[in-house]
């Protein structure tokens, strides 16, 4: 389907596709099996200047928006969502600074992220605060020119590998969600440690770790926005980054669909290719329909956000939910079409099925997304 991308967007997509097909496809299996962080691929994305596609020109980026970020994530995910998420998680760490940072903060951090000199991460989730964001327990107490952070964060993508972390902590417990603040924490700050690295089902090339803060000293100028605006910063960031999860899901689904289609044309049973059987044809047709529908919703949402719309919470959540459910369905069907070969690691679709699952879980589980969408549409009545 022609989505009438601009010439520049087509160039971004073409470049990301080349890297995905020529480099990522060759290492995806090994990185998944051995849990290798894709530092080399991120360096290549930095060299080719794809690290800065969504960052304003004044901070050394390309000046694109959510659409440009999604085009890159989608293409990288066609071959490895684990590698793609390492790229996308930097965007998740960069957006709070882009949206709420001071000029100094933007200049200091965004320029490094745009050039690929720094990897970023977003640290909100805790062991007892996943979907229930407002119950985070990490605290930040002001002490002269510093905030002192204590607590821990769980399941942080790019944890241990990132140079810059946007960390959410309670500055005023009595105010509930309005007592949460956001801080920029650099790797190497006193009292900032990395805990256990998770052994995950999918996206195994990415690093997911625990962050530990023990009297971590954060300079007061690293406060993002004002004290108490952390919850809003997190929610507004997600509004811009949930399309990135949708892009990842669509990339995974597209990759699985392409493998299944090729296999169905080549695999001969009962004297004819699988693709000649109507049962298989219908599965392939459904894959195509669902992927294109998810992509159309994603690109429409991206265009809405990038054109300056003020409120796009439900659209952002809707494309994330729909695309991630499509990715799960498509990858399960791809494994089904490929039968025994789909179930073993000689083919990439079993990895894609494992990778797809997380898109229904992270950046807000799909059940929470449906709550958000329902709340918005009921409010609009």
């Amino acid at each position: 389907m022609d989505y009438f991308l601009s010439e520049e967007q087509k160039v971004i997509k073409r470049l990301a596709k080349r890297i995905s097909d020529e480099v990522i496809s060759k290492v995806a299996g090994k990185y998944d099996k051995e849990g290798i962080f894709p530092r080399d691929i991120l360096n290549l994305l930095a060299y080719t200047e794809l690290t800065g596609v969504y960052i304003p020109k004044e901070y050394g980026g390309f000046g694109g928006g959510v659409m440009e970020m999604c085009l890159v994530v989608e293409e990288l995910s066609r071959n490895c969502a684990g590698i793609a998420v390492s790229y996308a998680a930097t965007a998740l760490g960069a957006y709070p600074i882009m949206l709420y940072g001071t000029q100094e903060q933007k200049k200091k951090y965004l320029t490094k992220i745009a050039k690929g000199e720094a990897i970023a991460a977003f640290a909100l989730t805790e062991a007892d605060a996943g979907s229930d964001v407002s119950s985070i327990k990490t605290v930040a107490e002001k002490d002269g020119d510093f905030y002192i952070l204590n607590g821990s964060k769980h399941w942080i993508t790019n944890g241990g590998e990132a140079d810059i972390y946007v960390v959410f902590a309670v500055t005023d417990k009595s105010k509930g969600p309005r007592g949460i603040s956001a801080f920029i924490v650099e790797k190497g700050y006193e009292g900032f440690y990395f805990g256990k690295k998770e052994d995950k089902m999918g996206i195994r090339a990415s690093s997911t770790t625990e962050l530990v803060f023990e009297n971590c000293k954060v300079p007061k100028e690293n406060l993002l926005g004002r004290e108490g605006t952390g919850f809003i910063i997190a929610m507004k960031t997600f509004d811009r980054t949930r399309p990135g999860v949708a892009a990842m899901a669509i990339g995974i689904a597209q990759g699985a669909y392409e493998h299944a289609l090729k296999y169905a044309k080549e695999r001969v049973q009962f004297g004819q290719p699988l693709s000649s059987f109507q049962a298989i044809q219908h599965m392939l047709a459904d894959m195509y329909i669902n992927i294109e529908a998810a992509r159309a919703l994603l690109y429409s949402t991206c265009r809405m956000i990038d054109s300056g719309a003020k409120d796009y919470t439900k659209e952002s959540s809707a494309c994330k939910v729909f695309a991630s459910d499509v990715a799960m369905k498509v990858t399960i069907d791809a494994v089904q079409i490929m039968g025994g070969n789909g179930y073993v690691k000689d083919y990439p679709v079993e990895k894609m099925m494992r990778d797809a699952k997380v898109t229904q879980i992270f950046e807000g589980a799909n059940q929470i997304q449906r709550n958000i969408i329902a709340s918005e549409i009921v409010k609009e009545l």
């Binding site: 470049l15 290549l44 794809l50 390309f62 070969n341 073993v344 000689d346």
Partner: protein
Amino acid sequence: MNILVCVKQIIDPDKMEYSPITKTVKRNPQHLLNNPADLSALEFALRVKDTFPDSRVYTLSMGALECKDRIKEIVELGIDEAILLSDKRLAGSDASATSYALSCAIKSLGKFNLILCGEHSLDGETSIVPPQIAEYLGICHMTSIVDIKPKDQNTLEVVKKIENALVRFEIKLPVLLSVKKDSNSVRFPKLSFMIRALSYEPKILTLDNLKDIDVKRIGLEGSKTTVDEFEEEKIENFSCEIFEQGNFKEIECIVDAVLKYI
């Protein structure tokens, strides 16, 4: 340092069609690609520029205006300027006439410290164009180069492949070097270069722009060789099975496939 790389837009060898009437290869613009060995030469030029960023990398191509789309792919790699020598009077030039025309173009463009060419083009396979250009220009040349490293602004360290040996040379500029295909990995383009390429137009030269060119020495008339016949090589009992990556569970599959043909 001024560096010039000759890049030929060739017909994809897998899609080559011969015209028995004109006795030339049909040049369908959709089947054009940049000659792989020339891209290896270009990669070395860009590496010299990486070392000496003040260097300027130019490319020179010869062909119809339809070559412009492929030239954009060269621009995407980060060259400074692309030049296309395009004139209907050049049609049908053989290797010798091509060398003469290119050398006249190079003389008109100015002085270059380093000229790089691919060793041969996949559609011509003559390998004589680079040495002939050097002879016409009166500069030193060396063939079969597989590595180039700049030592300083006037000296290169090069590696030449001879049969099963690699020979290291230090060579003074100016020089023309012809580079073997696959001597290096051609870099990925940068996004900013790709955006520049979107609206980039190469500088077009015609024969009228070239100083002192003798038009009797170019084109079909000026060529010393003509193609009498073109025959596709027939390979008896040839068959092919393609194994995609991951499309086999055991290495025995390949061994069995090979054994079938022995």
